[in-house]
């Protein structure tokens, strides 16, 4: 069997993941519904005062996004691991980092991008002032890929464990902290009309860093899980 070129393999993996995602639409919706429910709990818990909600909005939305992202990460490699597809991918001769990157990109497109698209609604619910909304969308657009990239390392490490979900959150939440700090401070700064490009720039550099390094760590973790 001849080996496919890297871009062909990448595209094939993406196509396969989209098809799989489309066939399991209900499963895809779960993290998003989870996100909406978590956001709904906050006004009920802290009171519906618009001013208070506006104050905590960036943090609440971002934390809910972190939770939703971890929820979907547990299943990122699991079904492939269980039915042996993952082993075949390792044996395919393609770079494992490339495979990991393709899976991560697909994960972001089906689990991260919907959060970005939902964020205006969430901002409205949490009464976030209008000045903050575009920055919230931008911060999520830059930040959610990083969540997928870092989370994939945790997903790959815990894939061979029967109950990896809780462990996964313990592993990746500490790594998400810089992102959470930068994103919420950018949105809060935008609300009071302070400059926020610095924070977004740092987040972007984080995205580039994660894009270059994380697939290799994910590949190493996958190899380890299959050993």
């Amino acid at each position: 069997m001849s080996r496919q070129s890297a871009p062909t393999a990448f595209a094939a993996l993406l196509r396969r993941d989209f098809l799989l995602a489309y066939r399991r639409r209900a499963e895809l919706l779960q993290p998003l519904v989870f996100l909406l429910v978590v956001i709904t709990l906050f006004p009920l818990g802290v009171g519906p005062s618009p001013k208070l909600l506006a104050n905590i909005a960036p943090g609440v939305i971002w934390i809910a996004a972190l939770l939703a992202s971890v929820l979907s990460l547990d299943s990122l490699f699991r079904s492939d691991y269980e039915d042996g597809t993952l082993e075949q991918m390792v044996l395919s001769g393609q770079s494992l980092a490339l495979i990991a990157l393709a899976r991560t990109v697909a994960h972001w497109l089906v689990a991260g991008l919907p959060i970005v698209l939902l964020s205006p609604l969430l901002a409205m619910w949490m009464n976030l002032p209008d000045a903050g909304v575009p920055v919230l969308i931008k911060s999520l657009a830059i930040g959610t890929p990083v969540l997928s990239l870092i989370g994939a390392i945790g997903g790959a490490l815990t894939v061979s464990l029967k109950r990896g979900g809780q462990l996964l959150s313990l592993l990746v939440f500490p790594l998400y902290i810089p992102l959470l700090i930068l994103a919420t401070s950018a949105v809060s700064a935008a609300v009071v009309e302070l400059p926020y490009t610095g924070q977004l720039g740092l987040m972007f550099s984080g995205l580039i860093g994660a894009l270059t390094l994380a697939p290799f760590a994910t590949a190493a973790a996958l190899k380890l899980s299959l050993s």
């Binding site: 390392i153 490490l157 815990t158 061979s160 464990l161 990896g164 462990l167 313990l170 592993l171 939440f173 500490p174 790594l175 902290i177 810089p178 700090i181 930068l182 401070s185 984080g206 390094l213 760590a217 190493a220 973790a221 380890l224 899980s225 050993s227």
Partner: protein
């Protein structure tokens, strides 16, 4: 064979490591006890009280060395984890795993002594200050490594997963540190810098002695734990059986 290469091959062999560390451990414990006794005596009785902080400054002799150790051990774990994954040296995997509980313990001591120090100085046990927060995050990273190790049934796979996790955590640690620092700072800055320290010799010496003592403690505890893990992993191998036979005879 080149003596250095030979040394690495020897340390990589569990029976040799077991014997070698057996000779080393009593010395490490002895030096640790002597240094701690001197350091605590100098720090608690001889060093002057601070002109601003009064007697409470003495917490420093426990707080600062343990906080240093908490960071150093994580760094060590990442370096050893890298060696373990790249050259597949089993002793290194064991050392990473053995380091994690010690590092976590140092982190907890640093957090507790810090909050006891914070009460009289800042008027509160806990603030979401940069250094406190990053120390707490470091503790969670330790817990993550320990939990990951315990989650696997197969000890070697578990150790390799823990090694990889410590490397990933170590890359993120400076980023977490700087982001948290930028987020909020109340903690006093470090008194040590490239231009020499701004701390009086009477206070510096007990601090440095305590810092050295904690390193010997780490060495002694690390080797003891590593020996125990090796015995457990190899309990069916010949060298352990021979060892047991010798003990029993």
């Amino acid at each position: 064979m080149n003596p250095i290469v030979l040394f690495f091959h020897k340390t990589g062999s569990p029976p040799w490591f077991y014997r070698f560390s057996g000779y080393l451990i009593p010395w490490l414990w002895a030096i640790f006890i002597v240094l701690t006794a001197i350091g605590l005596y100098l720090g608690l009785f001889r060093a002057p009280a601070d002109y601003q902080q009064g007697e409470t400054v003495r917490i420093m002799y426990l707080h600062v060395p343990t906080a240093w150790m908490s960071m150093l051990i994580y760094g060590m774990m990442a370096v050893m984890g890298f060696i373990a994954l790249v050259w597949r040296i089993r002793i290194m995997e064991v050392l990473v795993v053995a380091s994690a509980p010690i590092g976590a313990a140092f982190t907890i001591i640093a957090l507790i002594t810090g909050s006891l120090w914070g009460r009289p100085m800042w008027g509160t046990y806990w603030v979401w200050d940069a250094r406190l927060t990053s120390e707490l995050v470091l503790l969670f990273l330790y817990f993550g490594v320990i939990a990951l190790y315990n989650a696997f049934d197969e000890p070697r796979k578990a150790a390799r997963a823990a090694s990889l996790m410590s490397i990933v955590g170590a890359i993120n640690l400076p980023i977490i540190y700087f982001s948290v620092e930028w987020w909020n700072t109340l903690h006093q800055g470090s008194s040590f810098g490239s231009k020499g320290s701004g701390i009086h010799p009477d206070m510096l010496w007990p601090l440095l002695i305590m810092a050295t003592a904690t390193k010997f403690y780490y060495g002694a505890n690390l080797l003891s734990r590593a020996r125990l893990i090796l015995l457990k992993q190899d309990n069916r191998k010949r060298w352990v059986q021979e060892l047991l036979a010798k003990e029993n005879s």
